[in-house]
């Protein structure tokens, strides 16, 4: 294979791998903008992965798969929101618990499916896959280079980009977006302004959770091509959490961040062995090492506008002064 076609294949694979990270990151940005740090991204992605899978399996419909995944992520987020917003439980512990719970539910249902149905059973039919797997947009997809890079993707990919753009506009230009940022930065000031703090938190945590759920569905339906495997999400939710910091809470930068991390995770497959021969296991460390470096660098430069919303991680209780 020539160098250019190899490069093209690499970039394409990087985009494929970046989509679930992008969903997780976008969802968490929305949640953190509301002043809540949800460590349950991995769990919500698991819930989305299994329920998206079940939606596709039970109804034989791609739309139901997407809907189920969104609702499942939202349901996970609803537990989190109830615990932290209404019951004012510790956000870190609640988020971690959500991860354990979501992982448990997903693996439980997955194993039960494998037990119940014969081995080699096709759960996701071609009817669903046709809609969800990377599309061929006729002539557009045939355009050299751009056709492969821009016009041959799953609808999940385009949806993620649309969400990123919509979120950027929402946060920057709409009244609600500004209110939301006020809630995340200083909930008592927002409260004094008459913004319904709890309602804002609930709505955005729930939608953010739904977006994370979509990322999970991408993993089980597109990455794994509709074959359920145990521990399918495998830490991508945690990388998404770090990507939130990497992209300094900006949905547009999140697209770039997800691309870079997607590229890191597939890099090994595209570097010829005679150029660089590093054992696969060491290569798998790469995204995590880079994440650490990102954490360090972003904490070192401390730019005011690039920081976490100031109210993040602290529960708001009106009568506490």
């Amino acid at each position: 294979m020539s160098f250019w076609s190899q490069l093209l294949a690499f970039l394409y694979a990087a985009i494929l791998a970046s989509v679930p990270l992008l969903y997780g990151t976008l969802g968490e940005i929305l949640i953190e903008k509301a002043g809540n740090l949800n460590l349950g991204v991995e769990g919500m992605m698991y819930l989305g992965a299994i329920m998206g899978f079940m939606g596709g399996f039970l109804f034989d419909s791609a739309l139901m798969a997407i809907l189920f995944a969104f609702l499942a992520g939202m349901l996970g987020a609803a537990i989190y929101a109830f615990m932290t917003v209404t019951l004012k439980a510790n956000q870190n512990v609640t988020g971690l618990t959500l991860t354990i719970f979501g992982t448990g539910i997903a693996n439980f249902i997955g194993e039960t499916l494998k037990e119940t149905y014969p081995a080699g059973m096709t759960f996701i039919t071609d009817r669903v896959k046709q809609v969800l797997l990377p599309l061929r947009l006729g002539a557009l997809s045939e355009v050299p280079v751009a056709g492969k890079l821009l016009f041959s993707h799953s609808i999940f990919t385009y949806l993620a980009l649309a969400i990123a753009v919509a979120m950027a506009l929402y946060l920057r230009c709409s009244q609600q977006g500004l209110n939301l940022r006020a809630v995340g930065e200083n909930p008592s000031a927002a409260d004094a302004m008459g913004i319904p703090v709890s309602r804002y938190k609930y709505i955005h945590i729930l939608i953010g959770g739904g977006v994370c759920g979509l990322g999970g569905a991408y993993i089980s339906l597109v990455t794994a091509v509709g074959n359920w495997q145990p521990n399918i999400v495998g830490g991508q939710g945690w990388i998404a959490l770090a990507l939130v910091i990497f992209s300094s809470w900006s949905p547009v930068k999140a697209v770039l961040g997800a691309l870079i991390f997607g590229a890191l995770s597939v890099l090994r497959l595209y570097i010829p062995k005679d150029v660089l021969d590093i054992p696969g296991a060491l290569f798998s460390m790469l995204p995590f090492i880079v994440t650490c470096l990102v954490l360090i660098v972003s904490s070192m430069k401390m730019k005011r506008e690039n920081q976490q919303p100031a109210g993040c991680g602290i529960n708001y209780f009106r009568e506490e002064r």
Binding site: K88, V93, I100, F101, F288
Partner: protein, 364 residues
């Protein structure tokens, strides 16, 4: 916009201190609620929850053999949680126990694989020391950056988990691979590198990790309650500014405590490879680092509480694996139950700290 009349009259008031008995009652109710919810889940799956729960109990405590297995699960769980508690007391979110266990296990295994000609007591001592050092240093990295630049330790410790886990895979597939094995695995430890066993009265022989566990519980109880170090780290956890104002060396306290926390987790790695596992595998931590966070929270960061809760969690885990063999219910049920219990207990804290009051008709 119409006001939602019935809710505007309800509001939340912070309580004074609730009596100890009442607090315990609320927690007990939470656990009962969680088990009921878990039971309903089982019922929905078509099982009789009572008989499933009974299987869990008898499968984890029914015979001395099962009790032994439960204790073996409890040792690493309890010790890891104790490690995590040290960091949590300081409000340092060490989610990296998983990786610190792995780091300790790797260091211990190095001596077990390459210096197994040493006499057993010396070898085991070296292994233990190496594991504490390796785990401690692995945990020191995020602490250093936290004290220096304020780097987010929650995510940092978490990322370090995956790095060291992949390193074990690397060792297994490459340099430490057992040349005789058909598939990629590391060799078994020789006899010198295995932990001796000591009898627990009424149960039988279990590797000496249980003695280490009991000693650590007592040590930490004293350390946290009666020593200067323990006092200092609690103050740092309560309010860092107060600590600095009082002239405490906050950075040094954070580094020291994190080194201890992670070192203890590292030791768990050694006990695990040298005790029940008898070889290094990538399942040496097996999610214990995360379960430890739950246990630490449920035990309210008290060493003796940790012992009780980690015992109950071990019963649950052993019980769930029994449930799998008997009813073919996947053992991930253990994670689900753990989640439900935690949600309920976290929720119950609300009713301990706050009460819901009916607003008086103040405004006319």
């Amino acid at each position: 916009m119409p006001k939602s009349a019935p809710f505007s009259r309800l509001h939340i008031v912070q309580r004074g201190d609730l009596s100890g008995a009442k607090t315990s009652l609320y927690r007990l109710l939470a656990v009962v609620g969680a088990l009921t919810t878990g039971g309903l889940f089982l019922l929905a799956l078509g099982f009789n929850p009572l008989s499933v729960y009974w299987t869990m109990l008898s499968g984890s405590l029914g015979s001395s053999g099962m009790q032994k297995e439960t204790i073996k699960l409890m040792i690493p769980l309890c010790l890891t949680t104790l490690g995590v508690v040290l960091a949590f007391k300081m409000k340092f979110w060490n989610i990296g126990a998983e990786g610190q266990i792995c780091a300790g296990a790797i260091a211990a295994s190095y001596f077990a694989y390459f210096h197994n000609d040493l006499p057993s007591p010396l070898l085991l001592t070296l292994m233990a020391a190496a594991s504490i050092l390796a785990g401690g240093l692995w945990g020191l990295i995020p602490a250093l950056f936290k004290t220096r630049y304020g780097t987010n330790e929650t995510l940092f410790t978490l990322m370090l988990n995956y790095i060291v886990l992949h390193f074990i895979t690397y060792l297994r597939e490459g340099p430490w691979r057992n040349p005789e094995g058909g598939f990629a695995a590391m060799p078994r430890f020789t006899k010198q590198a295995r932990l001796p066993e000591l009898p627990i009265p009424g149960i039988g022989n279990v590797h000496i990790g249980w003695v280490v566990m009991l000693a650590t519980v007592v040590f930490l109880f004293i350390y946290l309650r009666y020593t200067k170090h323990g006092y200092e780290l609690t103050v740092v956890g309560e309010n860092e500014r107060t600590a600095r104002y009082a002239g405490m060396p906050v950075k040094k306290i954070i580094l020291r405590t994190m080194m201890m926390s992670a070192g203890l987790c590292g030791l768990v790695g050694m006990l695990q490879v040298s005790g029940p596992d008898r070889q290094l595998t990538d399942a040496v931590a097996n999610g214990r680092g995360f379960t430890a966070v739950s246990i630490a929270w449920l035990a309210r960061l008290s060493p003796f509480g940790v012992m009780v809760v980690s015992f109950l969690f071990s019963v649950m885990q052993k019980g769930c694996s029994m449930m799998q063999t008997e009813y073919r219910i996947p053992s991930s049920m253990s994670d689900i139950l753990q989640g439900i219990i935690l949600f309920f207990v976290l929720g119950s804290e609300f009713f301990i700290r706050y009460r819901i009051a009916l607003q008086k008709e103040a405004k006319a």
